[in-house]
Amino acid sequence: MLGVIASAGGLVFQPAVLITMLLALPIGIVIGLLPGLSGITAIAFLIPFSYGMEPLTGLAFLLAAYAAVSQGGSITAILLGVPGEVPNAATVIDGYQLTKRGHGGAAIGAALMASALGGLFGCVVLAFLLPVMQPVILSFASPENFFLSLAGVSFIAVLGATSPVRGLVAGMLGIFLSLFGYDPVEGVPRFWMGFEYLLDGFRLVPLALGLFALPEILTLMTTGRSIAQPGKVEPITYRQVAEGALAVFKHLGIFFRSSVLGTLIGIMPGVGGSTAPFVAYAAARQTAENPDTFGQGRIEGVIAPEASSNAKEGGALVPTLSLGIPGSSSMALLLGAFLIFGLQPGPDFLKKHMDIAIALAWIVAFANVASSFGMFLLSRTLTYVTRVPGRVLAPILLAIIVIGSYSTDNSVADVFFAFVFGTLGVVMERYQYNRAALLLGFVLGSTIERNYHVSMAAYGASFVLRPVSIGIIAIALILILWPNRKRVALLWRRA
């Protein structure tokens, strides 16, 4: 094994591979900074440029850009309150509040360090578990996916901050919106009202951009103020960013727990990586002192989701490489890239190309660290965005949002619905309903429906008695009840 790891290192530290990665990193960062574009966009955009490259060089090119995208997405989540990708929505909750209080630099520092180390963690786990992971992956089936997704929804009540009821309502609305379009089980369209666009339901990118970005743009336009509130502004320095980075080491327990959660969830191919940051955030909140202060600008609320978000990518590579089953939507695209390079992920791949598999883990780790360092250098400049007057920043952001919405599927309808959801976002913000909860409900809705149906059809009602499922239910209940554990214990003793 050590020989394979050394061989993998030798493959990675070749000039062609390193130079290619360094070329890809800025592209990934730029794509991540642009709202509406995601890691999938980066891979799809760069695949044609990788034709003709050697396999490892080409894969390094794609993976490096992909790893860098999430760093850019964290920055927009913290500085603008607009998640670059769905997982970044959990970072918005506390990250944006920190920015409004003038601590955007610290939030960025914490996010970058947590991302870099979380990505490293995921890759180390990947490297050691790859040879033995197949039986673990195969033990996760539809019931486990159902319960994990349901646990994510139950955490929506937690994410409702001061009002669990409003959090639940927002989550249920998100699930309702996910019902539009083709029923994932029977293939019959629901609520499409004769509009071809709605055959596939609402699209995630217009929903996320509209829900999060447009209310903020409206605030900027009407108040004319900058994002960072006047009177709470500190000089922006690298020192502030560095202090945020060091905060990760002051909260090592949160970091490790979040990284483990992210890696585990990433390994499960049926769940999708979006839930990992929210589960990690909820775990951090529930186990912290003064959990009610989450949502008002706690640094732990940035560390937890960012660590898990990057750790999950190492986890997602596990089923992708060991079974040829993509651990996330982006990995599905990457599988196509493997074929272009003449490589076929699966058990055979690990037997013949274990060194390439480990080299890919090295590449993701290096890309995480390098892109974090690159963003660190840009952080001070980027944080100045929060000081730009609203009447200048708002039109620029509006243009970017419109382009971002349109660019997903080249559809004007996406832009229209971005404004529809923007209106909804304004109303939700006004009446203090949690927008992240709606987004999570929307993302998880079809997964819950799909996995519930399959579980009932394949196992009958006894699917709830599977050992791993019982474990997930137990952990979810503990997490939800933990802040009230003394009251629960008292009730138990009285009973």
């Binding site: 029977e186 499409w192 055959l199 049926g270 058990p347 059809a457 394949a458």
Partner: protein
């Protein structure tokens, strides 16, 4: 003044005459050139190839692999546009509304398109018999795979299924996985349950590997990958021809004598596969443009170097001419009697739920 008016009139007429003569000369020069260069309408133009799925999937790979070859042959610039939705059929709805000027095509999932039309799937707004077929790119045979919970050969599996339920995985109904499973079960009168709801064929394949279901009916390429994990075995080839992935396994037709009252159903579904992945253009294309495009695609898809490149990247090329596709779609859609169409609907969409 009169002289000025006259001279102006003369000059004007002279200029008009000269312009007319010049125009005739230019067109006289251009016409033979246009007649010789049938593909001139494409040079310097942008050609769009729609793909009804997100980037990175099989259809996208084919379009991006073949696009540069089309550019080389025609001088056009090819742009692949991903237009996911409706199981790949929204893009076809959009294609048939485009102008038939040769500048828009689609890399089509022909099987899904035909099944969608036959089963009157909501949202279908095309008639596959009217599109301009330009050539088939690839065709897949289909396997039935089973895991260790059930017998691993066709004969024993069929005997098993007469008395015990076999669970198949699929994404939804209709889709390729559920269609073939339903047809297989109906043909041999098996007790089956088709469990829909899996996100994609890979997730459906994982369900066979982890024992959540017993079997899957899937394309031979994907089935071969599942079989390589050792968690499932290829049991039958549902096709008229043996699969290159399992050349030693006789087809279902070679293994069993299927009675005529069931054979029509298996033939019907297997024949739809003949349409395969195809390059298609909007209906009503002028004959000369259609002929030129069909010629270009034939040259690309029968080029040994292209076929070899496809093999290397597991994107096999299996060309069939447009006339064959026309015949397939018309025969399947127009020749099926009403009572058989009703049976197809019931078996494909409802039975074995």
């Amino acid at each position: 003044m009169l002289w000025n008016q006259c001279s102006r009139r003369v000059i004007r007429r002279g200029l008009l005459t000269a312009a007319l003569a010049g125009g005739l000369a230019v067109s006289a020069y251009a016409l033979p050139a246009a007649a010789e260069d049938a593909g001139g309408f494409l040079k310097g133009q942008t050609v769009r190839i729609f793909v009804g799925y997100s980037a990175g999937g099989g259809y996208d790979d084919y379009a991006r692999m073949l696009g540069p070859l089309f550019e080389k042959k025609t001088g056009a610039t090819v742009v692949v546009e991903n237009r996911p939705g409706g199981g790949g059929l929204t893009a076809l709805n959009q294609l048939v509304r485009e102008k038939p000027d040769g500048l828009t095509m689609i890399m089509l999932n022909g099987e899904a398109a035909i099944m969608g039309q036959i089963t009157n799937r909501p949202g279908v707004a095309y008639d596959i018999t009217k599109v301009t077929n330009l050539g088939r790119v690839a065709k897949e045979e289909h396997f039935v795979l089973a895991n260790s919970k059930v017998p691993d050969n066709a004969k024993d599996l069929i005997a098993y299924g007469k008395t015990k339920e076999i669970k198949f995985s699929a994404t939804s109904r209709p889709d390729v996985l559920s269609d073939y499973a339903a047809v297989f079960c109906e043909t041999f009168d098996l007790k089956c349950k088709i469990i829909t709801g899996y996100k994609g064929s890979k997730e459906a394949g994982l369900a066979v590997m982890n024992g959540e279901v017993d079997a899957i009916a899937i394309s031979d390429g994907s089935g071969n990958k599942i079989a390589q994990t050792g968690k499932a075995k290829v049991v039958a080839t549902l096709s008229h021809n043996r699969s290159p992935y399992k050349a030693d396994l006789p087809t279902i037709y070679d293994q069993f004598k299927i009675p005529p009252e069931k054979k029509w159903l298996m033939d019907f579904r297997v024949d739809i596969a003949d349409y395969g992945r195809a390059i298609v253009a909007p209906p009503g294309m002028p004959a000369d443009k259609a002929k030129y495009l069909q010629k270009v695609w034939k040259e690309i898809l029968t080029d040994p170097a292209v076929i070899e490149q496809g093999k290397k990247t597991e994107r096999d090329i299996d060309y069939a001419p447009p006339e064959a596709l026309d015949k397939t779609s018309r025969e399947l859609l127009q020749s099926l009697p009403a009572d058989k169409r009703k049976q197809v609907d019931e078996i494909i969409l409802q039975k074995f739920s």
